[in-house]
Amino acid sequence: MNSAVKKATAVLVIVGLVCLSQIMTSKPLFSADAAVSALHVGIFPRRSAAKTVTMFTPLMAYLEERLGLAVTLTSGKDFKSFWQGVETQRFDLVHFNQLHYLQAHDAFGYQAIGANQEFHRKTLSGAIYVRKDSGIERLEDLRGKKIVFGGGQSAMMSYIVPRFMLEKAGLKPGDYEAAYAITPINAVFAPYFHQSDAAAAGDVMLDLPSIRARINPDALKILAKSEPIFQLPWAVKGDMPDDIREKLLHAFLALNDSARGKDILKQAGMTGFSKASHDHYQTHRAIIDAVQGR
């Protein structure tokens, strides 16, 4: 390879790196000096990135159509990459879990505009499941028992809320053996298959077809259930112009009113979209604070 070619290659690499750094550090849509031409959407890795893209692509197309903006979807391969986008405020619209929303709101000013409706419910309760034949009748009976939570320690319905319930029942970590399943459904299977004494997850588990198709739900019962709280929020950057925010909200709410919209929602794993505000997640903040000992 001659020196001229080497020099040209080096120039191209430098130019590419500069461009990449510009992209990574570019200001979001709604910065004061930026033109409103695109909407960046981030979705937390509740599911695999590929599945997330598949589920939400129709919704993104719908928003692009309604807003007249180019909509780009980012679903991190893991939570770290997702959170990096949140930290850099690269996402104009973000789908969080409740804990992460509150963290993003506090740190970066994201504002909730709506929330998922799943199982045709605006709210969900955290629940603790046991086998009916286990002899466990109260939360206090779980002392010294093994509880499988349906997610990591950031899972609202499968860990934080059940943990809150246990705390309220006087059971602190160490009073029971905690184990973690990768999904709430797996957590519910654990007591069913005698792999734990209890499971922690949302209160809709026993009605899920994927549950009922695999086990006999009649063998389980909900030992305790929390108060209902809003489901997973959709939040926008704090500096999103009001008209855009309004148009975005209306576009989401309009999904509830048309067959096409319901189909888009269904593909995104939702049964509806609820209007919500940051206030609706104060209950969650209280629970989180209690669990985290603040």
Binding site: A181, F189, H194, R214
Partner: protein, 597 residues
């Protein structure tokens, strides 16, 4: 109930179909069993691979409580053909999945736990259970249990069996059709041709033949048949000749088996005996017996023929109408190729008439002999009795001549001479007759004697005549004969005398005597160079008192050669005369040869 006769083609078709059915059945069953074994092996290998892999990846899911992953594994496993149940168990035996894929007839609900279902179904031979242990860092995490429905292999095996049956059946039918067609063309058709030919032969057509095509075994068989038919036709022609000869034989012929039961008689037999063929065949030969023949004779007959010898003789038989008849019978045994006796063949000649004629002839001959003897006796007696009167006549005529000759007139003297000469001649004839008769009545036994000795004795008796005629007598050879020496000397004497008597004037007699063996006789020829004998008289000269010449020319009594003939015949020989080459006569006679001394 008699089974219907099956044709060769039907039998062949049945045999071919049976063989093919057995072959198809056996091969199909073998292939099906082999296929099932292969299927079982493949299924086992697949189960091993699947189970081990699932048991290898399952611990991670178990440790992370990823029951959905376990469920996915189970789902993937039971989605495989023949896998009806897959269950992950923890180390305590608790099931970690409940997904089941049981056939319709094995309904299972969640009320029946997987372990219970496994226990229940693994006892069924239709199913097979496999267990794969699961470990993580040496820790026992339980096992994966799989239940396989082996009936699928049976169904596949049955399906394959039926498929093979159909394919092989079709191929076999085509093969059977080809075989049958080939059989029809290559074998059955030639056989049918042979059968038709044999049927024609059975109906008597021995000229039939079959078409020969190619060089194969059937063609050689057909060729052999044709050659056999040619042979049969040749034999048939011979048999026809023989049969015709027997059928038309002028002699009655019958054939019996060795038990004496009649198997065959010819038409002449029917004519002679009066028995028809169909009424005598099967009867014993004894039906012909007259009951006048002694059993000993039949025993002798039977013993001879049963020992393999021929027998011939005369038997008195009885015809069907009871009439008796004489038959000259020849009986001979007929042997099989192996030497055992099969039949007896008898040829019978009706000799009743012949026998009657012979008996009449014998009676006549006896009568003639008696008459001849009486005549000879008469002649002898007469000759003997005549001797005395002749002697008286001669004595008195001589006495008359001696005493009264002078007193007789010349004519009377002549008359007396005539009487004396006549008396002498009568006396000579009477003596000759006595000698002639004495030859036949002689009882002197025969003895060996040299021909030449006899001839010399005869020459001695004729010594004077030989000297007078200066005859040249030549003997060639000598033999011993058996006979009456005196009569034989007389025989030679008479013939030599004739040779010395009937000579050509002025010619010295030459007599040549030759001998030749003609056993059991010695033939003797005496040749002279005399006047000879005309052929017309060559028989007549041997009759008594027959003379060919005037007494005045060649004196004699006319009895010498008759005596010769009688002597030769008494010795059992013959005598005849031939004209000698050139001039003269040859007397030839035979006498019985005797032992050399």
């Amino acid at each position: 109930m008699k089974a219907p006769a099956l044709g060769l083609r039907t039998k062949f078709i049945l045999i071919v179909l049976a063989i093919l059915a057995m072959a198809i059945g056996a091969s199909s069953l073998y292939l099906a069993a082999h296929q099932k074994d292969l299927g079982t092996q493949k299924l086992e290998a697949k189960t091993q691979a699947l189970g081990r892999f699932a048991a290898l990846i399952a611990p991670q899911a178990i440790l992370s409580y990823d029951f959905l992953a376990l469920d996915t594994y189970v789902r993937e496993i039971v989605s495989q053909e023949d896998f009806v149940l897959a269950v992950f168990f923890d180390h305590a035996g608790n099931a970690l999945t409940e997904r089941l894929s049981l056939p319709q007839d094995l309904s299972l609900s969640f009320t029946e736990k997987p372990e219970a279902a496994l226990q229940r179904l693994q006892a069924n031979p239709r199913f097979m259970r496999w267990d794969f242990p699961m470990q993580h860092d040496g820790r026992d995490l339980g096992q994966l249990s799989l239940l396989l429905d082996m009936s699928h292999l049976d169904r596949e095996s049955q399906a394959l069996l039926w498929q093979q049956f159909r394919v092989y059946g079709f191929v076999s039918l085509m093969l059977a059709f080809a075989l049958i067609l080939s059989f029809q063309v290559q074998i059955l058709k030639p056989i049918q041709s042979l059968v038709a030919a044999v049927q024609r032969v059975a109906k008597g057509d021995f000229q039939t033949s079959v078409h020969v095509k190619g060089q194969d075994e059937m063609s050689r068989l057909a060729l052999g048949f044709n050659m056999m038919m040619q042979e049969i036709a040749t034999h048939q022609a011979k048999l026809k000749v023989l049969s015709s000869a027997v059928e038309h034989s002028p002699a009655p012929i019958l054939i019996t088996n060795i038990q004496g039961e009649i198997d065959y008689v010819n038409p002449k037999f029917e004519d002679v005996t009066g028995y028809r063929y169909d009424e005598i065949v099967g009867q014993k030969h004894a039906v012909l017996r007259s009951n006048y023949t002694k059993d000993d004779r039949y025993d002798q007959l039977w013993q001879a023929v049963t020992s393999g010898k021929e027998w011939q003789g005369e038997l008195l038989h009885r015809r069907k109408n009871g009439e008796l008849f004489w038959a000259r019978v020849w009986i001979a045994p007929v042997f099989r190729d192996d030497g055992t006796m099969a039949h007896l063949v008898a040829i019978k000649e009706d000799i009743t008439e012949h026998k009657e004629k012979r008996e009449a002839m014998e009676i006549m001959l006896d009568e003639y002999a008696r008459s001849n003897a009486a005549l000879e006796r008469f002649a002898y007696v007469t000759s003997h009795d005549l001797q005395e009167p002749v002697r008286s006549i001669l004595s008195f005529s001589q006495l008359l001549d001696r005493r009264y000759r002078e007193n007789l007139a010349p004519e009377a003297k002549d008359y007396l001479d005539y009487i004396t000469q006549g008396a002498h001649r009568i006396s000579d004839l009477v003596q000759a007759l006595l000698d002639y008769g004495h030859i036949a009545s002689s009882t002197k036994p025969f003895a060996p004697v040299s021909v030449k000795d006899i001839g010399m004795a005869a020459q001695a008796a004729l010594h004077k005549a030989i000297l007078d005629t200066k005859a040249d007598i030549c003997w060639e050879g000598d033999e011993i004969i058996q006979g009456d020496k005196d009569q034989l000397i007389l025989l030679f004497q008479n013939i030599l005398r004739n040779a010395l008597t009937f000579v050509v004037p002025e010619v010295t007699p030459k007599i040549r005597i030759t001998l030749k063996k003609d056993l059991p006789f010695i033939q003797i020829a005496i040749q002279d160079n005399g006047i000879g004998i005309e052929p017309l008289y060559q028989e007549r000269i041997f009759e008594i008192f027959q003379r060919l010449h005037n007494q005045e020319v060649f004196p004699g009594k006319g009895i010498g050669l008759a005596v010769c003939k009688r002597i030769v015949e008494r010795h059992g020989g013959k005598i005849w005369v031939e004209k000698a080459a050139g001039q003269g006569t040859v007397f030839i006679f035979t006498l019985p040869a005797g032992l050399n001394r």
